[in-house]
Symmetry: C2
Subunit: 298 residues, 2 copies
């Protein structure tokens, strides 16, 4: 399965950003194309501002637009849109199109909230659970960003037959204010701490590939984006989009610039490995009740 | 917390192997000492032979012996013993001693069975679940070998307050018979495939550290051991015992020879990281039912 990860910047407007996305899509002949989280716009969750809900007003048009792209290019296309479901109910939703047909959607289940990533203000938690999406290239376990820190999400997708995990993502380092180096920011911004965060992000996802013996595709944005509220300086998105195989081995890895990362992924490889590393066989399901609790001591 | 991982070979007999273990323990002033899986003997699960059950006959004496070592050295000691519970019920059990007191035990919950690792013949699945063990150095989430491929086990330990995960292990590559290179063996023994297996073993455990924001200690044996049945050639245990911090960063890593790996582990570090990376806060426990099923499609 020839796959392309579109790792890109925000280009000052929704229109220009989409133009760039289309240009990149036109430059690959991949069967499966995966876009990054909220790829149409800036990562607006850096501050809590009601004006940004307007981005979701056109979501029906957005769906039609990307559906048409999928049809024109004859591809499976994983998008990440800002869904307005009702006044006061918005979702961070991945829509998957298969050669012009809406194959399915996934509403982000785990919603973060930490300085610079105020997603709980914008996104209602998903309520359609962890359901893989069947397409002509395979059964896709589409999850989004913060989900990538949760082995539960990856495992459930695998137990529902997902043949690959796919994470559109927007993650990076907080930029330090030039005139006001607070302690947290300074600590986060040493090269060692930055590397540790990036490595953690990559390795937790490699862990999902290994534990579930399926490949993982993760697509992150690049570029620096200002916090429009001026409270924080902004975020430097660290790119490093990657694909690992069913044993967590790198098949492709991007840098920190805009790029199309093309890679051939064999969805059969993991199925062979599961015969000799049969982790799913030995799960102690009768002893996992604690997993359904918030905490298991008090 | 000064910690020592005792990575060692099997020295042709139980007695000589224990002598070597004691020598190594005497060469460290660590507060927490972790031994490898089934450290008293060879890894006898390479074949299914009833004679090996005799190793478990002295398990009460073994417990007393290591309890005394823990007392004499004034340390927390994590051991891995072959427990005879009744005729026909044996366990692969980690006993933890705290300065001469039995602090607790963990009976291996996930039992492997694949060529060279016929553990299902010897070990009954554990029935005391995933319970951390409280000691003077902290609450230890002790698991054993095959458990390391299961995010469920790591997560449950974390949800029960474990401050560190500890895996005594015996894992390596199958040796290829010199006169009969079968396909599986040949495939497993290319340097690339060997590296992929080793990396998978390390990275899945790094994933547990990251997802649960606690350090991981993993102690593996080294050396080549023959299959006494002669069916397979034997196993080359790959060592590489390691410690990673709460973001999966390496704090220490061994090679493939006998060695004492000493490292300072800060159990507070992960607690600070959980404030800014609060993964446990956002778990969607109402949507995790599938985790208690064998498979969620049919």
């Amino acid at each position: 399965m020839k796959t392309a990860l579109i790792q890109q910047k925000y280009h000052s407007s929704k229109q220009k950003t989409i133009e760039k996305t289309l240009q990149m899509i036109d430059n690959t002949d991949a069967q499966l194309v995966v876009l990054q989280e909220l790829h149409q716009t800036e990562y607006f969750c850096q501050s809590e501002d009601t004006k940004f809900f307007d981005y979701a007003n056109d979501y029906q048009k957005d769906i039609e637009f990307w559906q048409n792209v999928s049809k024109r290019k004859n591809i499976v296309l994983v998008t990440s849109l800002f869904e307005k479901r009702a006044d006061g109910i918005y979702h961070n939703t991945a829509y998957v199109f298969d050669k012009g047909v809406l194959a399915g959607k996934y509403r982000k289940m785990h919603i973060p909230d930490d300085p610079g990533f105020y997603e709980k203000f914008y996104f209602t938690i998903g309520d359609i659970g962890f359901e893989p999406i069947d397409t002509s290239v395979g059964r896709l376990g589409v999850l989004v960003c913060w989900d990538q820190w949760y082995p539960e999400a990856a495992r459930i997708m695998a137990l529902k037959g997902a043949e690959v995990l796919i994470y559109p993502t927007a993650i990076g380092w907080l930029e330090c204010p030039k005139d006001r180096l607070d302690e947290l920011c300074e600590k986060e911004n040493t090269p060692q701490e930055r590397q540790k965060m990036l490595d953690a992000w990559i390795n937790v996802q490699r862990g999902h590939a290994i534990a579930n013996t399926i490949p993982v595709i993760s697509v992150n944005r690049v570029g620096s984006e200002k916090d429009s509220s001026g409270v924080l300086e902004g975020i430097k998105f660290w790119g490093n989009s990657f694909v690992v195989g069913a044993q967590g081995e790198f098949l492709a890895r991007g840098g920190m610039e805009e790029e199309i990362i093309e890679v051939e992924i064999d969805l059969q490889a993991g199925k062979e490995i599961r015969k000799i590393w049969p982790f799913l066989r030995d799960r102690r399901i009768e002893s996992y009740e604690c997993l359904l609790k918030r905490y298991c001591r008090c």
